[in-house]
Every structure is written in C-alpha cells, then in structure tokens.
C-alpha cells in the first residue's frame, strides 16, 4: 500500500509575461502513495491548477522532475505521453466549458476509448459506456442527450466518467465540485470516495474549499503564490497548523454552527501579491503577522519539522 505512485521533484513552471517571469509553480516537491488522496488547497492565483496540469504535462514544466511509477514523464511530448494518459487522467473544474457541446453523452464518454483504440468491437464499447454511466450514476436515458440538456451535477458526472473510462491509476481532480450546489456537491464527493474505495484510485484533489479537502484527503498541501508552504496528514493540519498562512486560512472559514455570530475573525490583511518577478524571501511575508527580518531576505526551506509534517517558515517554532 505504501508504494509511491507519483513523485515531483523541484517542479517549476514559469510563464513569460511582458512584465517578467510569472512564477506559477515554484520549486514544489512531494510524493503520493498509491490509493491515497493528496489535497492541494490555496486561494485563486496560487498555482494549484497549474501544478495539476504541469504534472500531467498538459503544460510543459520549466524545470524539475515528475516521476510516475518510476518513469520520468517530464518534457515528454504528446505522442510520448499517450501511453501514460491511460494511467493519468484529469477531471476539469468547469463542467460547462470542458465538454464539447456538439457531442452526445455517449460520444463524450466513448471519446477516450476511441483515442486509445481500446475496443475493436462497437458493441463492446457501447457496453463499456453504459457501464461507466452506471458507475457514475447517470441514468441510461441520458445516453443521447447533449450537455446543454443536463444540469451541472450530471455534467460533472460525465467529466468523471471520461476520466474513469481508461481505468487510470492516478486522477488529478481540479476543483471538481466547486461549481456545484452543496447538495449536489455532496453527492459527487460521495461518488468519488466510493470509486476510490472500489477501484483504488490515487487522487490529487485541487480545491479552495477547506472543508471539502479535509473530508476527502489523506494528506493536504497548502500553496501560496506558487510555493508549497505546508504539507502534512489531513487531521494534523487542522489540529496543529504551523505556517501562519495556514493558520489564517483556517481562521477565515465561516463555521456553520452557533456561537460564531459577529466573531471578529482577525482576518489576514492584504491580498495575494503579484507572482511576476516575486521579491526574495518568503512569499507570504508581506501579509504575515509574524514576519521578521529574515523573512524578507531569505527563502524559507520546505523542511520536515516533525514526523510527516513539512513546513516552509523561518519562525514555525516561535
């Protein structure tokens, strides 16, 4: 069970902009074990989606390594990646724009099977499509419908069915429930967890919703401006957050219970700064309530400060 399925080493993705280099993903390293879920949380613009796409080589990394089941996949082109696509899939964020409006549900789900020429026989393929629809909880009657005829929850199920079609081992889930209403969100989350239990998937689960990430993840990595600032088992993060950003983030979540009315949250001040040509030192320093001199001059290292608990902060123990 403790087999490492994916490893990222010093992964970087920079974008060139007219104003300089945009550090979207900056020197991120982590591993995921088979069958586990690593949740990636962070606010908009922290680079979490870029991270997911860079791992899958949908965006070419600027430098660093991505090792999937022992094979280096970084820098592989489309053709070289094809065999890996069967193993590594993605569920996209927006079920409205990520489905071709001119394809029916069955065509959409069959598309990955066709690309990878899985079935020669048409009937076999149809059987697989209806099996997949059944797995994700889409009724048979939708088979010839177009995406615009379906609501967000059902469209997201098509996205999930497409990702499952090739029996992958590893799935990047890029905010798969963010655009859904809570009652539908809960249905989709339950589905994803059941699928993991039954089929043994490994997820990289990207989201900005901390309660969702806590619910689904074994480990959580917190990102801020392209850097991973903290990573540890899910429960530990909520019990003993060490990075000031994680602490601020947790404090900012509105809790749906009594006793929180008009409680001043002491919210983190300021906003995420520009990821273009970032200043030296800790990226969080300008907003950090505990920043000291060293924070603005030296990059904090991402260190294991206690068993299984990584943090990038100069003052974590103060």
């Amino acid at each position: 069970m403790n087999k490492i399925i994916l490893e990222c080493k010093n992964l970087k993705k920079y974008f060139e902009t007219p104003y300089g280099l945009l550090h979207a993903v900056d020197d991120i390293s982590f591993t995921i074990n088979e069958g586990q879920t690593l949740g990636i949380v962070g606010e908009s613009g922290c680079g979490k989606s870029t991270l997911g796409r860079t791992i899958l080589q949908l965006l070419m990394p600027t430098s660093g390594e991505v090792i999937f089941e022992g094979d280096h996949v970084e820098g592989k082109n489309k053709k070289e990646m094809l065999p890996y696509r069967r193993e590594m899939q993605i569920i996209f964020q927006d079920p409205y724009s990520s489905l071709d409006p001119r394809m029916t549900v069955s065509q959409l789900i069959a598309q990955p099977l066709k690309i990878h020429k899985v079935y020669k026989d048409k009937n076999e393929m149809e059987a697989r499509v209806s099996e997949l629809m059944d797995t994700v909880g889409l009724a048979d009657r939708y088979v010839n419908m177009y995406p615009h005829e379906l609501d967000g929850g059902r469209r997201q199920r098509i996205g999930i069915a497409r990702a499952l079609a090739l029996n992958p081992k590893f799935i990047v889930c890029d905010e798969p429930v963010s655009s859904l209403d809570v009652s539908i969100q809960a249905q989709v989350l339950n589905l994803m967890m059941d699928l993991q239990d039954n089929l043994g998937f490994t997820y990289l689960f990207i989201t900005h919703n901390l309660s969702v990430v806590k619910h689904i993840s074994d480990y959580i990595g917190v990102m801020y401006l392209g850097k991973m600032v903290e990573k540890c088992p899910s429960d530990m993060l909520f019990e003993r957050p060490l990075h000031p950003y994680t602490q601020g983030l947790l404090k900012a979540i509105p809790v749906p219970s009594l006793g929180y009315k008009d409680k001043i949250t002491n919210a983190l001040k300021g906003e995420i700064s520009s990821p273009v040509n970032p200043k030296p030192g800790c990226r969080f320093a300008p907003r950090c309530p505990e920043a000291t001199e060293i924070c603005t001059s030296e990059d904090p290292k991402f260190m294991e400060v206690e068993s299984d608990h990584f943090v990038a902060c100069h003052n974590w123990d103060k």
Binding site: A186, Q187, L210, H215
Partner: protein, 333 residues
Amino acid sequence: MEKTSENILEIKNLHIEYHSDGEIVRAVNGIDLNIRKGESLGLVGETGAGKSTTALAILNMLPKYTAEISQGEILLKGENVLKMKEKDLRKVRGSKASIIFQDPMTSLNPVYKVGYQIEEVLRQHSTKKMSNEEYRDEVGRILEMVGIPGSRQDEYPHQFSGGMKQRVMIAIAIACRPELLIADEPTTALDVTIQAQVLDMMRELKKEINSSVLLITHDLGVVASFCDSVAIMYAGEIVEYGTLEDIFDPEHKHHPYTDGLFGSIPNLIVKTDRLNPINGLMPDPTDLPKGCKFHPRCPVSTEACRNGDIPVAVDGTHKIKCILMKNMRKRNE
C-alpha cells in the same frame, strides 16, 4: 418580532412567475418575510430556489416583459413598492434600499472610473447638493469606509482585484446610507481570506450606518457568522424560518431539507466518513410537484405530503412548512 411599526421590510404572500415560450416558471410561490430595523436576515437556498428573484422584486427591478408578480405585496417602510411609479421607485433605489450584486467582475462599468460610479449614486439619490470638490471628498470618504484608499477613486475597475471590486460594489450600495441593504451573494466569488475581510467590514459598516441587511447566500457558515434570523428557501417557498438559534440548534426539529443542507457540508470539526446529501435534484420550476415541493427528494415523506396544502407549524419564532411537524417539540423529547 411581528410588530409592524418597526419593520423596514415586509413581504406578504409574494408570488412571482416568469413567462417564456408559453411555459410558466414559478420562481417564487407565496413567501412571507419581515426584516426589522437593524436586523440581518439570511436567505439561504440553492441555485434556482428563487433567492435572487426575491431580491430583485424588493426593488421592483424584475425584467418587465417576462416576469410577473401575480400576487402579494412588498412593503418597504410601509409603502408598497409594487404599486409605485417608476419616478418614485428611483427615489427609493439607492437611497432607502440598495443592492450589492453577486458578481463584481461584471456589475461595474469597465469604462468609468470607480470614483465616478460611486459619485453617480450620490448625484442621483442624495438629498444633499454638493460642489464637485465636495463630491470628490465624499467619494473618498466612502471608499475609506470599505477599506480602499480614497486616492484610488481615479482608477478603473480593471486595476482592482476581485476583493477590491466587491468593496467598490459595497461602496456604491452604501453611498446614501440606505436603511435596507440587499446583499446578493456578496462573497461567493471571493477567496476565504478576502471573504473574511469583507464580512468583517460589512459588520463594521452595519454598526456604523445601522441598516438592516438581507443577506442572500448558499453558505450556512456565512449566515452563522453574520445573521440574526434565517429563512431557508426551496423551490420558491420558505420551508423554514426563525432566529439563528432556531435554525442552527441541532436540538431543534428541522425541515428535512434543512437537515439535508447541513448533512451535505463536510464538517471541519467532526470527522465523517460519508456525507448525507439530499438525493435527486431541484424540481423543474415549470412543473413543480403537487403538495410539498420537497416530497420527491424527502427521505421521510408520506402519502399526505403529495397532495394539498402544507401547513406551517409554528413554535414561537420558529416556523417550519412541513406536515410532519404538527407538534413541534425538541427532537429528543
């Protein structure tokens, strides 16, 4: 709670329909709401529950040719806004009641400076006549109130981040110190740390200008941190209504839909293996079920739920529109 004289807003038996392609979309089906002076009411529900339609109706801003208010009245400080002439409505909008729209990215005009967009409200609705200089000062002061340096009034919306744009939207809404502030999902598009900043700021502002707030949201956490009372909306009806304590106390009885909403949120404090979501989907508003609108998805529905009128059970301030609540008592009694 029911004392009329104090009520800023009273909605009585409001029904709203949209007409399209020969179909009738029943968006709001007989809701009653009251907001007293200084009170914050949270209106909670999922997409399509009729929350935003209700908000627009309060300022009589529903699309003219498709929407029809078929029944009911909306009293803003005792005056029925649905019977007002357009000329009089303009005096109400922005000054007595104003609205913060959901999406700050599209609600601001990209070709005007933000200062101008705030000034416009003052010029249209403020009773005070001011010189151009005084307008500038006033706009600067309003921007400071929402935490933006007054000097930034000469910038354009694209120069602001999402959180800042939402603050500008709030600045526009509070410019004339309205007695009722309608906030339609004011923080939904924002990140959590920015959401916390905006909520903290709205709390301060509320204290300062002592306005009543109708907060429309789908986030129960936001409601718990901000509101005095809560109305849960489903398919155009209010299924549960009461004080914050009535709705959030797990000891109380609740509408099955409210239970479903709470069961759908992953809990940060208690570890749960599985969520208990509501099965099924929202009903089609052109073809709403008979009887209780929630019965097709309700885990405890009975034959009686399928037909006829559903009575509202009342226990003090707590109201539940459910047939199974005939004698409302605490759950564990």
